[in-house]
């Protein structure tokens, strides 16, 4: 009696590498969806067409609609200026970006700018966007 050897199963497509790449892309897009704001709360910057291009680096102060502050993404309270000074000292940064929500009252924003100006930090800018988010 003749017995036929069973045909070898064809090796499958190597899908694991594809899954790895897809996972990387997925994690990247999940992270980058929050990185643009650099704030632990929602900040929709005001719209202005005459803004200049913003260089990288610097310290970012985020102001929420209700006046809550964050320095470089970390929530701060009354001691916000100490956090800014520490960030400036550690980074050697000279540019201070005030990333305020478009509907935040100016009483939450302008005193910050005045305090920074008094401290000799002349490069204080307000973050704007040329197109509505």
């Amino acid at each position: 009696m003749k017995l036929r050897r069973p045909a070898r199963a064809r090796p499958g497509e190597p899908l694991v590498a594809l899954v790895d790449v897809t996972f990387f892309l997925l994690v990247f897009f999940m992270l980058v969806a929050r990185l643009d704001a650099s704030a632990p709360f929602e900040v929709a910057p005001p719209v202005a067409l005459s803004g200049q291009d913003m260089p990288g680096g610097g310290v970012t102060i985020s102001v929420a609609q209700d006046g809550v502050l964050a320095v470089n993404g970390a929530l701060v309270g009354e001691d916000w200026f100490d956090a800014v000074e520490r960030a400036v000292a550690s980074d050697g940064a000279v540019l201070i970006r005030v990333n305020a929500h478009a509907r935040a009252p100016l009483r939450h924003v302008l005193p910050l700018v005045a305090r920074l100006e008094d401290a000799g930090l002349a490069e204080v800018v307000i973050v704007v966007t040329p197109s509505a988010p």
């Binding site: 017995l3 069973p6 199963a9 499958g12 899908l15 694991v16 594809l18 899954v19 897809t22 996972f23 892309l25 997925l26 897009f29 999940m30 980058v32 969806a33 643009d36 704001a37 910057p45 005001p46 719209v47 202005a48 067409l49 005459s50 803004g51 200049q52 291009d53 913003m54 102001v63 006046g67 502050l69 970006r97 005030v98 305020a100 478009a102 509907r103 935040a104 009252p105 100016l106 009483r107 939450h108 924003v109 302008l110 005193p111 910050l112 700018v113 005045a114 920074l116 930090l121 002349a122 490069e123 204080v124 800018v125 307000i126 973050v127 704007v128 966007t129 040329p130 197109s131 988010p133």
Partner: protein, 137 residues
Amino acid sequence: MSLARLRRPLARITLVPLIDVLFILLVYFMVTSTYLDLDMIPAAASDEGLQAPAGGAGQGGRLLLQIRADGSVALRGQAMTPEALPGALAASDDPALLSVMILPSGEAPVQALASVLDALSAAGVGQTRIVRLEAQP
């Protein structure tokens, strides 16, 4: 002669449904991610900005521009929208020689200030200064 039945190979874990779900999530995050084009407007002016330079801005006089709590603008007591500012300024003076002091209400939104600075820049105003609010944040 007895023949042993061949053992069935173990079922493979199929990856295709996993990849399907991953691709759907990937496309979702790619579509919903927002990439804002961020620009900046200088907020702190140097002290010498207050002094009228010879032959430059400030010779055309000073204007006080008020930003009200509702975001509207008052120029010489006349209420208008920030978008109407360039026309109002161009009709009366040479904007390049003007020095504009902005007096904002503390309740006005940041968007109102940005719109005013935008309009003044579009009108070619030579010098802009924001009057300070002394209240604590």
